[in-house]
Amino acid sequence: MIDFELDEEQQLIVETVNKFAADQIRPAAREADEAATVPQRLVDAAWELGFIQGSIPEAYGGYGSGDPSAITGALVAEGLAEGDLAIALHLLSPRLIVDAVLRMGSEEQKRQILPAYLGDSFVPGSAAVVEPRMGFHFLSMKTTARQEGSEYVLDGEKCMVLLAAEAPNILVYAATGDGIGAFLVPAGAAGLEIGEREKSLGLHALATYGIKLSGCRVPASARIGGDAAVMLRRARVAQSAMAVGVAKASLDYAIVYAKDRDAFGVKIAQKQAIAFMLADMAIETEAARLLNWEAAWSIDQGTEASREVALAHRYCADMVMKVTDNGLQVLGGHGFIRDHPVEQWVRNGRGFSVFEGMASV
């Protein structure tokens, strides 16, 4: 029966996430962006809250109750991204590996791989999906995985690989000929070359890298599951949820500003031009959220949901650009100044039509 209410567990999670995002992430967001680093104390604090551990079933050492739902994952992603996108992607990075193993991996792989991400402290995860060319599309990768006896040989180039230099393993997505495979490549593997840290329009606080794979050999056991496209769709759900979070951040900030700023004898929020812009931002943000929730729900039903995910992904990517741009416009000249966060949300928001496989639910 159609129902949009969160259950009690979800409400609890949302409250926790929102509080953490508001009290700890947001105040650190600008400095993290300018300093191009995520403060360790945030990493530790997030670890304590157990966003990762909670996504792993008890059977494997986590304290999650069964497989975490994509909707719950979306709620967490939205909440953290509302604090700051770069920080959210960093904090949730272990799920790039954990989720893939949980959802696609063999029992043995689960037992072998998951514990490393359940230590006393945060262990960064990493995934390599995007490739450095204009027309890149997640279903047409040029990075290849060739089977040779008991090994896979990986060749190709990736970019926007978050935490590649920091993570113990990178989950590399590559074309296997019959689809897309995901391969766990340990740091320092022969044939894996990690380039300079990238500089991008947004995500300054998040360390991303270009990597080269030249005849990089991994054992057959390093392949997680079969067709890994399913994980890339889940990634789109996570990213779309984050887009909603970024849009909400911009909307709420613009509302407060517009109610405080005087012009022509009233608050600018009392001008229809501004008020209607805010109303439109609110409607678009909510519409995108519901579309993505439905996509997440469809995945939770065990369907591939490729259509639902594609629709929500496209809608959210366009929405967040429009909403964050309007958020900046509401602040006028002040929005263009880095004293306010709105320009940061524009720069981060623009990335959602490019990001692939950078988060997971």
């Binding site: 159609i2 008020a275 805010l278 496209r314």
Partner: protein, 414 residues
């Protein structure tokens, strides 16, 4: 969170869909071309069907009340069900759906703020006898959205109210007053100087002397639906035909103006749903035609490969589903007994714009066939536009959303 349809919903939708396909589609074009005629066979059929299942065709049907039937869960989904069924009926034909003999907006008002006695007199036996219509008359020539400008007067004379004024844009007003034994709920003021608080609504039954339908509008779309201009000249109705208290309470109250306004919280999602039905009809047909031509939409294709056509279809599907989900959420909140004015206006504003764009785009993408009256697409474009206008224009609903998110009164933001 749950996006699955209950068995109850599936059954209601299937039934409405059956009506839409078999009873409405076949005559939709005829009653668009033959404006101002009445599809009596359809009326009679729907009238009988309504006796079997009223929610299907009652605007705002039982919003908030528990349905108690079929569905296992205790919680109500009546508003949701009404929207789902209305989407199907509007998918069949929006003009005919609006013409279905039923208590309509007039009945919704009586239901929302009427006394038990009034409900008894005007609703209890409504479905007896021949097809009937009940309508709502708010708008007047000099105002549209600004409904506190009501200039139609109601003066107490003994145990009667005497009404004078002119109403326009009264949906089904002609059929309610001239073609059936129905009634119209008329907004009138007891004292023009007292603004909102003095505006009351009155139940004016068919046959009331002094009540005349002076014009039935020629429209761009939804032509099967009659849109009446009603003139009231010393129209006398019984004293107890007033909805709510005759006292002028300065502060808005559920019983007065505010009460009638509150019905918008259920009618706006319903209007959204009807528009969504029309847009879905257009999108369904476009996709059928594309499929016939062997064109498959590659949802996951890159912009370097995806055609403009594919992207447009994709955008339309997303817009349509977004509007639907916003509408369902507004219904869901009402069914949970939560205040949903903001969500109702969000749904209405979003749907109004989306269905207008979708139907216009479908005509464009179908090329010369889309522009021809041989196909239904052009009609649906004409039918869809009203969604962005009645029950509060796009602008009014944006204003309501803006006030809500900004925490402003109508004085602070207007």
């Amino acid at each position: 969170m749950d996006f699955s349809l209950s068995n109850n919903a599936q059954n209601r939708i299937a039934m409405a869909r059956m009506l839409a396909e078999n009873m409405m589609r076949p005559i939709a074009r005829q009653f668009d071309e033959e404006e101002h005629t009445d599809p009596w066979d359809f009326f009679n059929m729907m009238w009988d069907a309504s006796k079997l299942n009223r929610e299907a065709t009652t605007l705002g049907g039982g919003g908030g009340k528990s349905s108690g039937d079929g569905d296992k869960k205790k919680r109500s989904e009546n508003t949701l069900l009404a929207c789902m069924q209305i989407e199907e009926l509007a998918w069949g034909d929006a003009g005919l759906y609006l013409s279905v003999p039923n208590p309509g907006l007039g009945g919704a008002a009586v239901q929302a703020v009427g006394t038990p006695e009034q409900k008894q007199r005007f609703l209890a036996n409504f479905y007896e006898g021949k097809p009937k219509w009940a309508a709502m008359a708010i708008t007047e020539p000099h105002f549209g959205s600004d409904s506190k400008q009501v200039a139609t007067t109601a003066v107490r004379d003994g145990d009667m109210w005497v009404l004078n004024g002119t109403k326009i844009f009264c949906t089904a007003g002609h059929r309610a007053l001239d073609k059936s034994d129905g009634f119209v709920v008329v907004w009138a003021t007891l004292d023009k100087t007292k603004g909102r608080a003095a505006i009351k609504s009155f139940i004016v039954p068919a046959g009331t002397p002094g009540v005349t339908v002076t014009k039935v509008e020629d429209k761009m779309g939804i032509r099967a639906s009659d849109t009446a201009m009603i003139t009231l000249e010393d129209a006398r109705i019984p004293a107890d035909n007033i909805l709510g208290t005759p006292e002028i309470i300065e502060k808005d109250s559920r019983a007065g103006f505010g009460g009638v306004m509150a019905t918008f919280d259920s009618t706006r999602p319903i209007v959204a749903a009807s528009g969504i039905g029309v847009a879905r009809a257009a999108l369904d047909l476009l996709r059928e035609c594309l499929t016939e031509q062997g064109i498959k939409i590659r949802y996951e294709a890159s912009p370097y490969e995806q055609t403009v056509l594919e992207r447009e279809v994709m955008n339309m599907e997303a817009q349509l589903q977004a509007a639907r989900l916003l509408t369902w959420k507004a219904c869901n909140m009402m069914d949970r007994g939560q205040r949903n004015s903001k969500e109702a206006s969000m749904a209405k504003a979003n749907a109004g714009l989306s269905v207008t764009r979708i139907t216009q785009k479908c005509v464009e993408l179908a090329g010369p066939l889309g522009y021809s009256r041989k196909m239904m697409l052009e009609k649906w474009m004409r039918d869809a536009k009203i969604t962005d206008i009645y029950e509060g224009t796009q602008q009014i609903n944006q204003l309501i959303v803006a006030r809500s998110i900004l925490g402003y009164s109508s004085a602070e933001l207007n």
